[in-house]
Symmetry: C2
Subunit: 477 residues, 2 copies
């Protein structure tokens, strides 16, 4: 194996340099390539196929809750972006501006959408008249642009793919219920499909979305102990409705403002999968988002009957996403290449296996080997994939638990930051000044006020004043 | 029925004003809405759901031929757009230019992609080294922007959704084979899924794509006798490869240029479906692209057991895309509304039907009624949907045949244009001057030189010189 591994490009060890390891994996596993457009990337087939699996499974979950898909323009006229004060302040500094159409300057410049609240509001103001038109539970899959200075593949790029849900409701209660419902859909999706445990909670006012009344978040812990915000769900109350005049006639024939929400997840999730599950051999994909779940590798494939048997096994395993690697590379090279690409299972079959009526199955995550009779292969592959999905979640959960610490005072807090990595749970006075001071002193930010509050003491971990909330702190991507 | 129909908004008759009928249908069937962004539309749930069905079925057909999906940036730096001379001349006058990122002017302005040949070339120049890397058969689903002056929903808008395939091959033969293969995929999709017959052929040099060696097209005939270009497939030869330096090392270790293709279909197809199949009651959707295939309408729904039976039938029909309209509107209103929306079948069920153990099934296209026993409903609905899909294709084909005329000289040509509508088949000398003159005099353009050539005479229908090709002429969208 050691010799074969050299045949595929080496990657930096994650313990030596996690950032370089990440960059090596995204490029050498064939997920992305850099482009002539600064800060924008190509999603190559192996990367885009993961996004397709995320999209299909997430979209199905959305539709089960009554979401309908729509598509709105990618441009926002400047005057529209400016209608909601907090929102424009949050986004104007980081948008791309279109000033010319064809050979002529535009009368009013437009930005490429950084997010589509303003467009949805403009649309809803026309589309909603009566209580009969409510709720509106719309979503769109598209790309958005934010003119970031520092970019990293998947984690922060000038253009990225996402979904953005935008809903309008008759009452504040309905809007709050939808906000939480979608956060739960996100959390469940991350845990069930991406095998990635998340903390559900509310963002502090400082960290909330521009224009939102409340922002809820799911936070995941990466292998290097940094946090990644993995999805957010916002309750806007009637702030946007008032700015855009979105009113409906209620059953008593009175005009009322709607209450709105929005929620989004992005290709950033692919970055999360890489950083939660990857290892020094490359990517490790949870079976449910693996574009290829099983790679069959024929051994001594020139011998009579080997390629035929490989094709037969592929047919037998058609319930899974399965391929045969019948390229002219040697098996060791193929093994290393498939490990780099994170393919969950490889099935080896050569002349001796055929004689014995069996194949060797190897798991990507644990490298466990199973010798399986051909007649049991279909069942066994299904079982191992299920087990692997579950084990990957459990390992990620154990890693998070090992890397979640409690601080009851400032000494403990700084001590943990110095000697350990991961989340720090601590009590907080609720004061924004305190929050800012913690960030300035340590670089750690409030990740969320978790729904599952614990009482870790009576005073704020920083200032010692009476505590209001238990908070997860962490350094974040 | 007449009285009930007034309950839903009236639409203009297609015979009175086809353009107004079209506009009425797209808005009143809830497919689109206009926006504050001039020339751009909102695809509402009923419109976007048709696109999703097109996308899913087309994408599956692509993947069967080995296509892999990717995603490239939406921006093209000006210097990149300018690399291929014909291409930039074709597109530069109609692109939107981004000049500022955040608060700062860009060093080099970028356009929003009108199409992505240049980006794919830039990517392939890096990604392709050896013959082992070929072919590349990539596709992306995205939106593109073209700064059109006159816009119409689906048919011509400043931003539209599409797919664009871009491939690179070792030889000219491979590129030509892929170009034709994808045209055949398009034609088959239009006929099988959209129930829309198409003529396959090659565009004249005048009408071909900017930068292409050959453009192939599928042309469909709308209800009003105008042609609609419904999909195109381009063979670029090695023109782009030379402009962008896309070379590979062949088996003899020599550097060779790749040969490229591109092919695209757009949301314009939804406009085609409307204009081929619609009638004076609104949209008529072929079952395979109908987001709702069956609408169950409970009659006297307040009577005990009616809504329960409707729900039971919905369950029974779960193999189809089925809904129950249990709103508080009266049945006549519901019927008219569902006709407007083009839902293929409605199933009526009331107290008397329940007593008789049957439901009434009504086809949207012919309004044929079927009384069907509950136990046969599932089978029968499947049969009727199949029959309807087939009948819709046959009617569209008959309409095209009735509206395809032959002209052997200029008098016949102008006489047809004056008195009839539809395609005109005629011989052509192959001269671009002649082609331009025909367009200038009549407004009719060469739609294509069909693969199925017929010999309609020896001389050009316009100039009388020796003919080279049989051509379909028509007025077009």
């Amino acid at each position: 194996m050691a010799k074969d591994k050299k045949l595929v490009e080496q990657i930096t060890s994650m313990e030596v340099d996690f950032a370089q390891w990440y960059t090596d994996v995204v490029t050498k596993a064939g997920l992305i390539d850099y482009t002539s457009v600064k800060g924008c990337m190509v999603l190559k087939p192996a990367g885009y196929a993961i996004w397709e699996l995320i999209q299909n499974q997430l979209d199905a979950r959305f539709k089960e809750t009554g979401v309908e898909n729509v598509y709105l323009p990618m441009f926002i006229p400047e005057s529209l972006l400016q209608k909601e004060k907090d929102h424009v302040e949050g986004f104007a500094p980081e948008v791309a501006w279109v000033t010319h159409g064809g050979l002529n300057p535009l009368q009013e410049r437009m930005c490429v959408r950084p997010t589509s609240e303003t467009l949805f509001c403009d649309f809803y103001a026309k589309d909603i008249q009566s209580y009969r038109d409510l709720p509106k539970v719309y979503n769109q899959w598209c790309s958005v642009v934010r003119w970031e200075k520092e970019t990293r593949p998947f984690l922060r790029s000038r253009e990225f793919l996402w979904q953005e849900g935008h809903t309008a409701h008759a009452t504040a209660e309905d809007a709050e219920a939808r906000t939480i419902q979608m956060l739960n859909v996100y959390a469940d999706f991350c845990e069930q499909v991406l095998a990635m445990p998340v903390i559900k909670g509310r963002k502090t006012d400082k960290e909330k979305f521009a224009g939102a009344e409340a922002t809820y978040t799911i936070e995941a812990l990466m292998h290097d102990g940094k946090a990644l915000q993995s999805g957010t769900s916002h309750n806007f109350g009637d702030g946007f409705a008032k700015a855009f005049g979105i009113q409906y006639t209620d059953k008593e024939n009175k005009l009322q403002y709607v209450h709105q929400t929005s929620w989004g997840m992005t290709t950033r999730l692919i970055g999360a999968v890489i950083m939660v599950h990857g290892d020094d051999s490359g990517l490790v994909l949870p079976p449910r988002v693996a574009p290829t779940q099983v790679m069959i590798v024929p051994i001594m494939q020139k011998k009579e009957g080997v390629l035929e048997k490989a094709a037969e096994l592929k047919c037998m395993l058609k319930a899974y996403r399965v391929k045969v690697d019948d390229s002219d590379k040697n098996p060791g090279f193929k093994f290393a290449e498939q490990e780099m690409r994170g393919i969950p299972l490889r099935v080896e079959v050569g002349p001796k296996d055929i004689e014995a009526g069996q194949a060797v199955v190897v798991r990507r995550d644990t490298r466990e080997k199973y010798v399986v009779a051909f007649e049991d292969l279909n069942t066994k592959v299904g079982e191992i994939l299920e087990q692997m999905q579950q084990d990957m979640f459990n390992r990620a959960l154990a890693h998070r638990e090992e890397n979640t610490h409690t601080a009851t005072n400032w000494d403990e807090f700084t001590d943990i930051l110095e000697k350990k990595q991961g989340f720090i749970k601590g009590m907080w006075c609720g004061d924004q000044e305190c929050e800012v001071a913690i960030k300035d002193k340590t670089g750690a930010t409030t990740r969320c006020m978790p729904f599952e509050q614990e009482n870790l003491g009576e005073v704020c971990v920083h200032c010692g004043k009476p505590a209001k909330k238990m908070v997860y702190f962490g350094k974040a991507y």
